[in-house]
Every structure is written in C-alpha cells, then in structure tokens.
Symmetry: D2
Subunit: 348 residues, 4 copies
C-alpha cells in the first residue's frame, strides 16, 4: 500500500473529473499528482476540486516538469493518437478513453508505441467491469444460454454531445462516441468478431438543437452479422432526453438473457391512479456505471502494480474503431459493408 502510483490526468472535463474522483476517493494505491488541460479555467476547477497539486496546459510540459507512472487520457478523440504516443514514448502506462482513435492507422501507431516502450494500455470500456455485465459474460461462457445466436445492445444518452463529437472530421459521430461501448460489448459477449455491417441513421432533433454538421444523425440502427454466423443489433439515440439507457439482450440456443434495466433505483411510488407507478430511471452514465468506473480504474492500477496485461486491450479498442468505420461507410454508401474492406485497406 505504501508504494503509491503517481498518476497524471490528461483532460479535466466530465470524464476527467469522474476518473479523478474515483482515483482520489477509492483507490488508495494511486495518487493523482498532476493534471493537464489547455483550458486553464476547467484545469484549475478540476484540480482544485480534487486537490491535484500540479497543473499543466500540455502533456509536454507535464512530462518535462513532473514525474509520474501513468496517464489517464480523457480528451477528445482526435487528440488521442498524439497524446498516447507521446505518453508511451515517455514510458508512461496509459488508460485511454474510448473511442481509441479516429482510424485504424492511429490505433496501430498507439499500439506500436506501447509495444516498443513496454507500457501497459487499457481502454475505457467500463462495461467489462460492471457487476452485471461481468456476471452475464461468465454465465454465457459457462454455457447457460447455449451458443449465442443474437445480441441486441442499445445506448441512449440524454444530452447533445459536444460539437467536435458530431463532426466526422474530429470524431466518428454517435456510432463512435456513444456506441463504442456497444461495438465492444457485443463482440465480447458474442465471443465473435463482426463480419458484415449495415447501418441506417436518422436526424430528428438536429435542427432544433442547432446542429448543422453534415451527416449528423441522432438515431442509428446497426445490423451485424458475426463471423460465428450470429446476428446483432446495435442502436443509439442521442440526445434521447429521457435518461441514460444501456441495455443488452443475448439469445442463445438454450435461452435468453437480459442485462441491465432502465430502473435506476428500487423505489416505486404511486400517488395518482391515472398516472400510475413511478420508479427512478438512471439519469446519467456515472450513475448507471458507478461500480464499473471504480472497478476499471482499480484494475488498471493493479495491472501496473502486478505487471499484468489489462483485460481490455488496445486490440479491443481497434475492433470498436473498425466497427464504427464500417458502420459509417455503410450509411454513407447505403450498402452492407464487410469488415474485411475496413480491416484490409488499413494493413496495406
């Protein structure tokens, strides 16, 4: 316990705050000693709130002035590659938020830097640490529902993502920013890679919310054929306004399994029989995945301490990016896209 790991947060926004809080509050083995963000107002706000002593406006500054063991990268997607490669080359272990990067070339650059410098890299797919998802995965692997035949995974988020996340130039849109988790967890739960992808999108709220970005969509429906022959559906709605909603249903040759629910708390109230029973819904992802965020960070720190490979690898991050790219091409070209098209052109 006395050998504390020193952590530098890269990104002081919402997710940066979430992980700073988890590390400070729940992980005795880790000390958050520095934080980096070019936006000094939020930098100081987050640093003050979590009593983080060192503050920097760039990772370069932090690397020069400070000493730490690992970084936690929570900045926008288009910055991931540069930051992760920089950190890897400086020998820092990396916790990297999803989506891993904008394309497979960037993913590969990150992985190569990590390999060359022998540092650990863990992707931010926290669902793999959620008690419900992990129990479900174990039970599926134990054969409880037989061979998986079909999976449906949805993620609906309450609010409009930031502008950069809706622009295909700085992100890959909702399929990446919101549904990366679904790309990862369907592949993980089905124990098979996607083979072919077809996507439809819709834009119902963009105009009212002032989003004029080309190809913007707030509804997406993905049809997946897996290599195993099984079928999948990923859907996303963002902003959905009504709450944070993440549910998965897997049907196997022997039966069906539902993972997660909308209900956010076991309180039921009725005060009006014309209205009915009312139960809280999960309002936000930090609320829904409270344990998962704790466990994933705990896992990252423990992997460093015990020099073990994290359960969620750069390769998992790369697969999610590949799915996103295939899906995006599908709706742009209005046709099913084979994963091979995406995977092979990136290995040229």
């Amino acid at each position: 316990m006395n050998k504390s790991l020193r952590i530098c947060m890269i990104g002081a926004g919402r997710v940066g705050k979430l992980h700073s809080g988890t590390l400070s509050r729940f992980i005795p083995e880790a000390d958050v000693i520095a934080i980096v963000d070019p936006a000094t107002k939020i930098l100081n706000e987050t640093a003050d709130h979590f009593e983080i002593p060192e503050r920097y406006v760039s990772l370069e500054d932090a690397l020069e002035a400070s000493d730490f063991d690992a970084v936690v990268i929570t900045t926008p997607t288009f910055t991931h590659k540069k930051l992760a490669v920089l950190a890897a080359n400086a020998g820092k272990h990396i916790f990297l938020e999803k989506p891993m990067a904008l394309n497979l070339e960037e993913c590969d650059e990150i992985s190569q830097a990590a390999d060359q410098n022998q540092i650990l890299i863990q992707l931010g797919f926290m669902r793999r640490f959620d008690p419900e998802f992990t129990a479900a995965k174990s039970r599926i692997e134990a054969g409880e529902i037989g061979e998986p035949m079909m999976v449906k995974s949805l993620t609906n988020g309450p609010g409009l993502p930031p502008a950069w996340a809706n622009d295909l130039k700085t992100s890959n849109g909702m399929l990446a920013e919101v549904n990366s988790h679904d790309w990862d967890c369907t592949r993980w739960l089905m124990n098979s890679d996607p083979y072919r992808v077809y996507v439809e999108t819709a834009n119902f709220k963009g105009e009212d919310r002032g989003v004029a970005t080309e190809h913007f969509y707030d509804n997406v429906m993905v049809n997946i054929k897996f290599v195993s022959g099984s079928l999948g559906c990923i859907s996303g709605i963002c902003p959905c306004d009504y709450g944070y909603d993440a549910r998965v249903e897997v049907t196997g040759t022997k039966g069906v399994m539902q993972i997660g629910e909308m209900k956010g708390q076991a309180i039921i109230v009725c005060t009006n029989r014309d209205q009915g029973l009312i139960t809280p819904i999960y309002r936000t992802w930090p609320q829904r995945f409270a344990w998962a965020y704790l466990h994933e960070m705990d896992h990252f720190i423990n992997c460093i301490i015990e020099d073990k490979q994290p359960k969620v690898s750069a390769d998992d991050g790369r697969w999610a990016v590949a799915g996103v790219l295939a899906g995006t091409r599908s709706f742009l070209e209005e046709r099913p896209v084979l994963m091979h098209e995406i995977l092979e052109e990136n290995h040229g």
Copy 2:
C-alpha cells in the same frame, strides 16, 4: 348447452352490474332474466344496459311473478340473511357476495336454509378463481415453498365505501367490506384456521371525507396466529386513493412466494428523467380481477348444471365473518382475541 339456466340478479349496483355483465357476455349457459332492486332508478338503468327483461322491487315479487333457477345476491351486508333464506326456501341456488352476513347466527341461518332446501350456495371470494391465486395455491399445496410459516395480505381500495359499509350497525366496517377477501385467502393459502387475532386501527381521512360514524377507521393492521402455529398479517387502507391494490406474500420453510403486483399493464414510459419510469397501476377491482370474476361465475353455473358443491362454501364465508368479529372486538377492547371466544359464544 341448450338447457339455459335462468338467473335473477338481486342488487343492481356496482357489483350487480359486474356480475350481470359477466353472465350476459361470457356465460352462454346462463340467461339473466330478472333483476331486483328497491331503487327503481338504478334497477332500470342496470336492466336496460344488460337487456334484462323482468324487473322487481323485491325478491318476494320476483319469486311470485317469475321463474328462475338461481339468484346472485349483491345487496348490502345487512340484507343478506333475509334474502338468502328467502331464496333458499324457494329452492333457488345462491351466489352470495361477501361478507356473508353480519354475524355467525345469520351465517348459520343461511346455511341451515340452504341445507334444508338442498340448494347450492357459493360465496363471492373471487380470488379463489384468479389465475394467479389459483396457481399459487396449487404450488403451495405441491410443497414448493415448504410448510407455510407466514402470510401477509393487503387490500387497499381507492374510494370511500358507502355509508352503510362504515357503520358497525349495518356492516362490520372495512375489516368486513374490504378485507373479507384477505380473511378468506390467508386461511385458504395457509391451510389453517386463525387461532388468535390482534388489531390496530387508524382514522386519517374520515374527518376530511365527512365520516362521523363512531369507530370509523380507514387503516387497519391485523396480526394473526394460526392454529398451525404460523403467523399472518392482514392490512387494509380504504380510501387509499392511489389505486386498487391487492397483494399477498407467503413464506414457507423452503422459500417465499409473492402473489399479485401493483402494475396494471405491461407498458413502461419515460419522458422525463427527473420523474422516472411510469407504469399503469390497477385502478379498480374489476380491472384487477377481470378473469377471476368470469371464472367464479362460470364455476357457479357449472356447479348447478353438474350438481356439484362449489369450491367456495358457506363455511368459508362463516370463517371470514368470524375473523372480522374477532378483529373488531380486538380493536374495541384493545387486546388479542381468541377465535374460540367468537366461535363458542355463537354456538351457545
């Protein structure tokens, strides 16, 4: 099927309408040919609605002028004994709503008249015909939860009962009018008679609703020790305003069983994450026990046709009345009351 049974409804109020509708609509073997009610307005209204040809203001008139096989008695409790004895002595089979009568002497008079005239009598404990309650009873009898140790049964009704139902002179109050079903179904599910009863009551809404009746209560909590040694709790709230709520929980040596739920329909809606998920509640007892009302009437008609004893007997009705009397004495005298006190003084 061509030998239709001729039925005379006695009582044209809410329950009279319910059973008239069931018989007309769903029981091809029965013809509702007459209806009796001293209140001519509601008599004609109900008769018109269900196209009942003969209308009478008294059972005596009906017996004299018409010809029928059975009666369905849904009038206020204080009229049950006189009407049931009259019908029995005229050789009519009797479907008698709960509570059976005001006291055990009246119950015994009804039973004796039924026996002497060899007519069938079925009490209106429709829960015994509800698909959930009957499945639960079968599973308990099959030993699924072991030996029953504890039962909790609640009935909360939305609206204020009529004045006669709140007056201990014309009824036995909520314990009888609302909770008769709980007295019956706890004894049935536990397969044991009550041994000792203790009751607390409260009056929260009486004043606001203009009820000045002595001993009026709108909340009741009953503690029961059964002959088998098992324990029970009956509670009632009326008016509860929020819906119609009837749920039972039985715990046995091997496990627990919940019967019924508040949810009235499998529709869940969320349009506001500050409010949460909304599901319809059962609004009324006809909605909650739709199948049960159909099945109980079907059973009554079939018992007549096939000359079989109904599953819910006058003796079951008498036990519910005995429980009500013990409970009422308990809260009036602020002490536990042995069922023997009630049962023996009535056999004097």
Copy 3:
C-alpha cells in the same frame, strides 16, 4: 342478441381450435355451425370438442350443403387466396389469418373479390386488439412520447413451425409466419410505411431439428427505414425453445415506451438463493394474447352485425406481405431493398 351469426371455420388445426373456442365460449352473437378441413381426423376431433354440428372436407362442399354468414380461415398460407376468393364470391364475410397470402398478386385477387362482393374482410393481426398494444397506440397518437423515431419489435416462438411454413415455395418462412405481426405492428405504431429494408438471417438449429429446406433460417434481424425517416428493427427466433416472447419498444422525440413483457404471471418465488427469483414466462401465444384473440373475434362479429369496416384491413395484410417479400429479397441478394421495388413490380 337473438340474431345469431352463423360461422364456418376453415381449418381445424391449432389456430382453428383457438378461434372455435373463442367463438363458442365468449361470443354469444356467433354460432359456429360448420367446420372444414381435408384432414378428417383433426376435423372430427375439433368438431367434437367444440360441438360443431356440420363437418366438410372442402369449402366447396360446405358452400353447397350449408348456409352461413362468415368464414374464419386458418389454413396454411398457400391456400389463402383460393379459399378467400371462393368465400368472397359466395358472399361470405372473411376473417383471414396472417400472412394474408404468398405475394401481392394473391393479396390483390382477394381484395378485389371482397370488394366486388361487398363482403367484410378482417386480417388476423390480433395485437391490434391486445389491451397493452391498443393502450400504447392511443398514447403514442396522443403525443405522449412525441414523434416516433425508432421501433424495435421482436417475436420469438417456442417450437419449430410445420414443414410448409419453412419452405419458401409454400410460405415466406419465419419472416411471414412468425414476424407478420411485427411487420404490421411496427407500421401501425410508427404510423408510417416502410421505405427500405435490410435483413440478415442465421440457421442455428435447423440441422439438429432435421430441417434441410433451402434458405431455412431460425434467426432473423430486420433493419427498416420508414418513409417518415424513423428507424425500425424486427427480429425473430423460432424455435427459441424458452417461451413465447413478443415485445415492442418505441422511442419518440419526447421519450420511450415499452409494450409487453416476458413475465407471464405475477407470481415470484425464491427457494434457493443460488438460483434466484423465479417468475412464470408466457409459454404460448394463446396465453400471451388471450384477451386479444377474444377482442379481435368480437370485433369481427360486431363489424358484420353493424356493417362497419374492420379496424384491420386487407390493405394492412398486403403491407405485411410486401415487407416480408422485401425482407426475403434482401437476405437472398445480400443488399438493402427499397419497398418500391416490391410494390411497383406487382402493379405492372
């Protein structure tokens, strides 16, 4: 009530029995006076069970020998066109099970015969009469969840369909036999016609169950773009073995609505904490849609009596067939199919 409608059942199998039971048991205005089935064993079995006096091995015989007002057609899909046209030309009103027919030409022949003979035709989409689905439709139309953006509808059936239903020559397979209801209810709930369809299929159990039919599939995943711009997902698994499962989820601009659930009865039991809580699942479609089957037949009979157009029309049946044809072409040709391709070639 005395003017009973005379009904002739065409088809004495599972669905024929279901509707015979409903008509005999719950619809006083209808008399099932005849039944037709070429398989005399099941013909007599069903006729005996429901006390149907007249029995015929062909509709032609029935039309010649008997007199009735309406037919209820529950035979295999490939027989629908011939039987429906025959009945229509004889002036009989028609309740026709789904799917309406094998293709749009057949649908049009049926509709034309109905129009020419001025008879009523109602399609067997009983979900439109289910209390949950009808409440949901009303609430969506009232704007409760805003403009519908996305729908997911699944139907999983427990057992392997009969051989004819798996053969694209005599049926259109699972998409038609199982998922016709989803084609209809997504279009109905979304209040928009499908615009483009993409389908993936899988075959996991065929070999073990001895199905060697070409193109057989037991898993299907449909991606729909509606004319309104909204998105849809239909999925089906048959045989799924675990129960009968039919659930829909609609998300609109204002919120989400779930319709239906797997739970078949409000009984929860726990006798083993390593196993957990156990609740009955719907085992079969007659159990899940008990009220719906009653209400749809009631509606059909009432429409005849009151000379009103049924709420579920031949046009609704035709749209479901069109969706099935587009979906089938999609998975055979591995591409998205525009509904126009299907609709226009059939109007040549």
Copy 4:
C-alpha cells in the same frame, strides 16, 4: 487528507471484517492500526487479511499499548456496554453496532459516558445511509406521499444466528439481532415514536437446527401503533434460507412508496418455459447494503474530522432497544405492551 484518523477495530468476526475492509479500501482518511478480539485465531486471520499491524486480546490492552482516535465495536450485544463505556472513558469516538445494548440502563450508561467524555457515538443503522432509504426518506419528508399512515418493514436473513444471539440472556433474540434495523427505520421513516406494540412469534426450524433455547423463535410479526396514530408492521424470519430480504412499504394519505426489492442484480434469464424467468436475489446483507456500509463509515470518519454529531445517535439506538423490549414482553405475556411501560420503568 494527510491527517489520517487512527482506528481500532473491536471484534474480528463477520461484521468486524466488513468494516475493516470498508475502512482500508474506501476511506483514505482512516487508518485501521489495531484490532481487538479475545479469539486469537480469528484475530490474526482478520488482521492478516486487512494488514492491520497491532493485535490485542482485550480493549484494555489496546488502550494501554496503542494510540488511536476511534473504535469500531462489532462484538456480541452483551459486551457492548462494558466496551463502549471503557472506550468513551478513554476519550475514543465510538462506532457501535446494533443492537446498542441489552437494556435501557446499559444504553443510558453508554450515553452518559459519551457525554461526559465529549466523544462522538454513531450507531450501526446503515439503512439510514443506503441510497434507496435516504432518497425515500427525503421524498417522504418533502410530502410526496402525504402524511404517513402505515409502514411495513421486513428483514429475513438466510442463516441461523450464533447461539448467543438466540438466548434472551445474552441478547434479545431475533427482534434485536435481526429486526433492530426495522425498529429504527420504521420510527425514522414514519417520523414518530412507537406507542404500543403487539407481537406474535413462531418456531418452525429450531428443532431441526438443534436450537433448544427457551423462547427461541424464527418467525416474528410485530404490530405497532405509533404516537402519530399511524400503524406499523415489522416481520422477521431467520433463518429464511432463501436469501437476504429487506423491504419497506410506506403508505401515506396521498400514496404508496416501496423501498428496496428482492432482486439482487438486473440480469434475467430464461432457458426453460416450464420453469420461467430467473433473476438473482440478494444473497447476503453486505451485498444488499454495499453502498450503505461504505457511506455510514464515511459519515462516521467525517463527523470526527469535522466535529459534527453523527446522523444516527445513541438515542436512536436506545429507541430500538426499547421497541425490542416491549416486543419481547408482548409475546411473553401475550398482550399489547405500551412503550410507556418500558420507558418509565427504566427511568425510575
């Protein structure tokens, strides 16, 4: 954060382990530096597991040899008074598990020692820190369900308690060891003290489990009248074998509120339609109240650091003991017992 509080655990058993884990793992401000238990095997086992450096067989030894700020007392009830008074007189803050003590005199001795030495004392009613219970309390206080009229609270525990906990000489039995939480949370949620108590007990499993203790019971049903006029029911079953079950239902003048559920995880599986849907149940109290145990210990440590009175006081502990004493007298003397009888004789 650098000013770590030094904690001495008193008791190395199940609850001692739970709190040691919480403090070590989740409360950075607290250091568990010592542990006391006369049973050296479990003392060393627990100390080793949580890396607690100092080990003592008595509190006296610990006080003499070590230096710490607070104690966490998790030993059997009959030791509470002596240990708490000793700790208080040494100026140590006290976290004291429920039940507070064997009788009101002991409670008063503890409170007086705490007052005289100006140390903080917090009782182990963790439900007051559970996210569901705290949300429910806030919503009730905000008037959401109106004035509370009725409360039902149950606690069923899976396994047989240790021998001392079943003996009225060393404990007050199940009413104290299991249902202390219900005594506390009903009074808290109803915002009223109990006025009169009536209790029935049953013994179904004692003989099979080898419990020959006089007055042993494994089922209890408590009927409460509160000073406010509202009604309450507390029930307990231990061992219930089927899981850990703690649920509360409060009905007010405006509506009903359910707090907690049996479901332990949002995973639903069905692999057999004859069996049905299966969902995990809470297996143990640490699982059900995981967040509550964390939050209550966090609160205790923060109260010390910020010199604030804990939200759960010695007076709350005393009220729960008073309820237990009234309940025990009720079933021994087979009569309702006024709380005044208990409260006044202890102030003589």
